[in-house]
Symmetry: C2
Subunit: 176 residues, 2 copies
DNA sequence: CTGAACTTTCAGTATATATTGAAAGTACAA
DNA sequence: TTGTACTTTCAATATATACTGAAAGTTCAG
């Protein structure tokens, strides 16, 4: 086997390992396994990829690929690329790690943290004026939880909106 | 209806809303819905609770309660309480929000981030010496991803190991 | 020991989630 | 306007995940 062939084989093996494992890991974080695999595929693809190629590579149906591509576009993690003279749509992933992180942080904030926060605040609010130890304790728990989630989410938001070059050095300096 | 009855009713309603919604929210983060509901129940209970009461409150089976209680103990989010003269086990949740946060951060780190990091490093490692644009790009992607996850996870780890009173003011000062 | 009080296990089942694939929809060149 | 090259949809189906409940296991007082 030539050196080039070995390189190709090893590269493909590493890439497949990444794609497969990224699916497993993402599932633990409440992200659709296939969506994560498609993302991993695009993330490690040297060029934009079309639906058929993804179907082939991951051995999944057209409908499945389509659904998850739209979802990834919705998250802002990939974009559609059109080639001149071709009707087909190709897709490419944002490859800057910092941008990926900010996108995910902001989307999860909007989709999941904000609604959670609303529930906590509502539960604190509606028990604010109740009398009695139990009611007061419940109110205190909800308030503390709400404040904490609010502060943590605000902090994350500011990190995700700032420039990497400005915020990251600060963080690492602080966490000396 | 007396004021006391109104208070009781309103408190119960708020508590049920919290328990139910906490389950929904947690599911979005890859946490078992029932586990989250049991946690919410204990978090808002004025006293330690035994299996039967949880079965009753959430209308779920003994086996289900048992499994999820063990899982919560495994996470370090609740502890077993024994009452003198009683054979039954009672459970109570850690109620300090900062401690809860640190526990969850450390456990997810150990269970999910560290393995993910290992995969990224392995993929970077095995493609380190390959020649060619595609291989080099893949290696660069894996390295960047690995470095980023490693740094972020290290930062989170240091936050979760520090004292709240020391680290939180610093963070908010920095994110001014 | 014995049995009552309690916990754990796990095969079977239910529920939720993801996937398929064919049909319908869309866009456009000729 | 028709045919072709594509994308989207969605009912049916498969798969993964969670839950049940009865039986087996454990613990311990008497």
């Amino acid at each position: 086997m030539s050196t080039t062939e070995q390189t190709t084989a090893e590269l493909r093996a590493a890439r497949e390992r990444f794609i497969s494992q990224w699916g497993v890991i993402s599932a633990a974080w409440g992200i659709n396994r296939t969506m994560a695999q498609i993302h991993a595929l695009l993330l490690t693809s040297p060029a934009p990829v079309a639906t058929d190629e993804i179907m082939e590579a991951l051995q999944i149906s057209r409908g499945n690929v389509n659904t998850n591509l739209r979802e990834l576009v919705g998250w802002g993690l990939i974009r559609i690329v059109l080639r001149k003279g071709e009707r087909k749509e190709f897709f490419e992933a944002e490859k800057d790690v910092w941008r990926i992180f900010c996108t995910i942080a902001r989307e999860r904030q909007r989709r999941e943290i904000d609604p959670a926060l609303a529930v906590l605040r509502e539960c604190a609010e509606r028990t604010a004026k109740l009398k009695g130890t139990e009611a007061e304790e419940f109110h205190a728990t909800m308030s503390k939880l709400g404040d904490f989630v609010g502060q943590a989410s605000g902090a994350m938001d500011r990190v995700a909106r700032s420039e990497r070059s400005k915020i990251m050095p600060l963080i690492f300096k602080m966490l000396r």
